[in-house]
Amino acid sequence: MSQSPALANDLGLFARRLGDDALVLGQRLCEWCSNAPMLEEELAIANIALDYLGRARMCYAYAGEILGQTEDHLAFLRDAKDMENLLVVELPRGDFAFSCVRQFLIDEFEVLYFSGLKQSAEPQIAAIAEKTFKEISYHQRRSRHWLRRLGLGTPESQQRTQVALDSLWGYCQEFFLMDHLENRLCQTGHAVDRAGLTQTWQAAVLAHIAACNLVVPEDGWAAKGGRQGVHTEHLGHLLAEMQVIQRSYPGLNW
């Protein structure tokens, strides 16, 4: 490989944050085990969580090789301030409507994002994106379906879904924020310009929301900071539960 050390380091950090997004959301989804409204959905959510865990491992394996760290280290020995996941993935799972709406908003974004990332100039990033894209397309189908069922279901399901949408809307702007790292990688064709996906995402999301008897929230507040390690209070609790075994028994292997 003829990459400069600076570029390689950028790619490692980039893959690590994509891994953080996937790991934290995967962990949140796992919390539905034995809590889902029905057995079939429990299986579905666990399988989607497994896709995220797989994605996290692919990203961490790649990042770890560059950064000189193991997958376990990246997942289990970093504190909240070192994690660079988007805030939306760390929010508590809420009720079923909340988790469905979050998944819908994320799926709609990720379909666009990983479709673009398939063209990354770094072959391994492109390969991870290609694998991921196939899986998200499945998730997206399920999420759209659930939004329809909840929005067009009973008055209570409609109302809860609307509440979830209102409380999640301000977290979505973070999808589209660029920073120095991703700007550099974008210029060399290694990453995707997030900001450029805003309108396509909005068009797809607004159309489906309207078709599901839901109202698009007004743009008001927006939360950001995940990429800088500035998190909500929820991430620390999630990490504590996820990392306790590795921290209690350092070096433990499966």
Binding site: E40, L43, D51, R57, A127, E130, K131, Y138
Partner: protein, 170 residues
Amino acid sequence: MVRAQQQLTLLPEARFRLNRRRQSSAHLPVYQLLDQVKDPEIPVLSIWQLGILQDIRVADNELCIVITPTYSGCPAISMIKAQISEVLHGAGIRHFHIEVRLSPPWTTDWLDADARRLLKNYGIAPPDTTACPQCGSAQTEVISEFGSTACKALMRCLSCHEPFDYFREF
């Protein structure tokens, strides 16, 4: 001759290329050895029939076994790696490594013709049909898009009322 050509076109091109790679390989005996390695989640199918075993070649002066995961979170992949090592060690092959390749991503087009038949006999509807593997009825419905493992959907037969797994087109 014409007929043979028609039969060939029934096989997805991706699978056809895998088959040709094996047939023309200098490591055919190794392929045959690895036919013993089954998928832990669908034990009637070998990793070759599933299209997980992609290539066997020589790299860095040793044998390189190239496999690809069906799904990115597939927990079976580490068990499959262990089984490959066990079989090769058992045959006295000491110098080899296993490469997990992600691209091109695994597709159900890589299933070989035997795999589709074996899946059906095992009670799992293969990707090209959602007919009930028990009674053959075409009257079936989806219970959940995501079934007992990531690669299967859960279906129900409206004729014999039995639930069954459907290996999703992917």
